[in-house]
Symmetry: C2
Subunit: 426 residues, 2 copies
């Protein structure tokens, strides 16, 4: 292993013409990037290239110039289109030969399903001279690891369920042995109810301070509808030192951004809300209009949510509000369906119907139609009832198209439930 | 323009270190690939590179060797991190100078919001010698188009809402002028209720025939939970000829795959179901258990769905099934909550509660917990009531994790509503 230097940088090459169209993205690289970051290996670039011999070879040659570790995904199948193995062997000048033990294991795989291995699959048993074979528990194509001229080259299959366990095994074994003592440590804060620029403004003085410390803490800010994420990373040989500094940095940031921070350990808003409900022994019910079930779909996306999710009514038209939720028709006629009195009546209605302790109502105008000068598209009213607290009701103005308005409305409703449960706990 | 040959191949380079982490993907390239395909320009490769001068330069040089058209996205902002303009000018040996008219337009953009342009933004007015400036209606950074040594090089900003209209303008203007008479024409079929391999088996004999025709029709098959897509493309100088051939091919495929095809024009299942409901004057209601609102969220994602979506009940626990949907408790005790009698009773309950003509009920085990030997995780029962038809009820077995089971259940429910409405129309 003397020929392998410390791995510091990596590049990912995804092979497959289907990844160059308008419908598919290479998502393997997200998982790989995350795992490499955990080892302190920095991703320099990633590329997608079609099933073309010359293009794959060119990308590979260039990656070897720039980087220590090159990871290929895809192109290890049994057909003529699957070129990664051959091109890599060719560029490195390594002869390919059939590995009988791989042939046997592929044959067994087919036999277990009562089938005979088709002759084409012998291609998947080709191994460049000197390469190590990486087991693929979820597919026929084994991976390959080549140590060549100071580089590590890894060939993996394409399907995520095959790639992920193989990357895990690599990171726990061959890659771990080549990274020295420094590691990358990370912390995250998730924020709701506040714009990206406002979060940035609050965090900026801390960023600059950390950047000048040794080793520095790097910061990234990411925004999606209704959520802002702050990521902190530090590269340090001393695990304890890194973790203490990250913890302090996280606490400083939490103080600066305040109670808009809802998670410091990667848990999502629906999980946090679920835990507050479980802690209080409350069940939740919802009356959804413009979000059409999105809030409930998010809450029930959490395994075990049946402990606290009771029921919901999607009252998409006014008749449903009147008939099922018993919202007085006069209230709708007087204030309109998108109004604070109607939202509160919807929440009261779903609480009476279901007997849940916590009731949430959402009514709004998601667009593209239905807006008026006083209630433009993006107007959303949220009402929340929680035991021993006055009713919460607020009118929000969200920007963006139909889907963004709906996403932000569901997110804001969950975030308000979180705040109310948090404050009632004090 | 004599120096620009026919554009046949392209490469996209997305610049930005944030695109190399574990949370963000370059999605601009999907839109760009789609628009380029419309002009018959083939994407050879795409790359993501960090905010690093040497890496950007290396990727650019290599792309120039391989391809006619290089499109950059990102790295046109006003800060020191934004390097695309400088690196491209440097690699091509073109001097950069400040374009006063761009400075003026950026100043005006700030002034309209009552602000003064920060001095750093002058960077965004730098133009390589001989470049054309591309208007950016949604942001400060203009795009740039450089014709150099037989290549076209395009620099665009990063945010999708800025990129998309600029790509549209390019495809309608400068790129259109450089592509000769051949165009790429496309057709799609969407299929539900059938596995990818079964669709492939039905389509395979047609594929092989089309591949040998002149010009050939290329085919791609894409699978996602509950849906298989067949894409057909043909490159032809004669628009009418191409469209007639595609139409025939589409009809042949439709015949081969049968009524599992639900869309031949890109419309989604929720839109197709909506149109059937509108045509019949029916309103739809749902009783959702394991999908927790996902079916309704999908149906109401369609603008104008308030014409036919009435209401839904998410009866996530058994009490809600009994209290709100009036499912007899004995039925649940006798057959279990995930059973055909209970699914039918849920559908009847929500129909009685809402008065909707079409009622759908979904009850199942999404996992990870809750499975039994006779009803493993993935068991989902769907019941549907439609006027003048016997009740539909069927037990499905879906594979995959919680999220995949829920997605497939909502998709299967919509697909069954489609089939029942289609057959009732005959």
């Amino acid at each position: 292993m003397a020929s392998v230097p410390l791995l510091r940088t990596a590049e990912i090459i995804a092979v497959g013409s289907e990844l160059l169209g308008s419908t598919r993205l290479d998502t393997n690289s997200l998982y790989i990037a995350e795992r490499l970051a955990g080892l302190g290996i920095e991703l320099h670039a990633k590329a997608v290239v079609g099933d073309d011999r010359a293009d794959i070879a060119a990308m590979f040659r260039e990656a070897l110039v720039r980087t220590d570790l090159v990871i290929f995904t895809g192109g290890l199948g049994p057909t003529d289109d699957d070129l990664t193995r051959e091109v890599v062997a060719d560029v490195l000048g390594l002869p390919l030969s059939i590995d009988d033990s791989i042939v046997k294991s592929i044959e067994q795989r087919f036999a277990r399903r009562g089938m005979k291995m088709p002759p084409v699959n012998v291609r998947q048993a080709q191994v460049p001279h000197g390469a190590e074979v990486l087991a693929n528990p979820n597919g026929t194509a084994p991976g390959l690891l080549i140590r060549h001229d100071g580089h590590l080259i890894v060939l993996l299959p394409g399907p995520p369920r095959e790639v992920n366990p193989m990357i895990d095994a690599l990171c726990a074994g061959p890659l771990l042995e080549c990274i020295g003592t420094e590691r990358l440590y990370r912390a995250r804060l998730f924020v709701a109810g506040r714009s990206e620029s406002s979060v940035e403004e609050a965090a900026q003085p801390l960023y600059s301070k950390w950047r000048d410390e040794t080793p520095p803490i790097a910061t990234t800010i990411l925004a999606s509808p209704g959520q802002v994420e702050l990521h902190l990373t530090i590269r340090d040989p001393d695990r304890e030192h890194a973790q203490v500094r990250l913890l302090h940095a996280q606490e400083d940031l939490h103080r600066a951004v305040g109670e808009d921070v809802f998670s410091t350990d990667g848990r999502l808003l629906e999980e946090i809300v679920g835990e507050h409900l479980v802690a209080r022994g409350y069940r939740i019910a919802a009356a959804e209009s413009c979000t059409g079930g999105l809030l409930m779909a998010r809450l029930t996306d959490v395994p075990g949510s049946s402990r606290y999710v009771h029921a919901a009514v999607v009252s998409y038209d006014n008749e449903a509000k009147v008939d099922i939720l018993k919202v007085p028709r006069a209230l709708i006629e007087q204030h309109g369906a998108v109004s604070e009195p109607v939202a509160v009546a919807m929440a009261e209605g779903v609480r009476a119907l279901t007997g849940a302790e916590v009731a949430v109502a959402i009514t709004g105008i998601a667009g593209p139609g239905g807006g008026t000068p006083t209630k433009p598209v993006g107007t959303v009213v949220i009402a929340i009832l929680i035991p021993e607290q006055p009713a919460f009701v607020r009118t929000f103005s969200f920007v963006g198209g139909r889907s963004m308005v709906r996403t932000q409305a569901a997110q804001a409703a969950m975030d308000r439930v979180r705040r109310l449960l948090q404050s009632s706990a004090r």
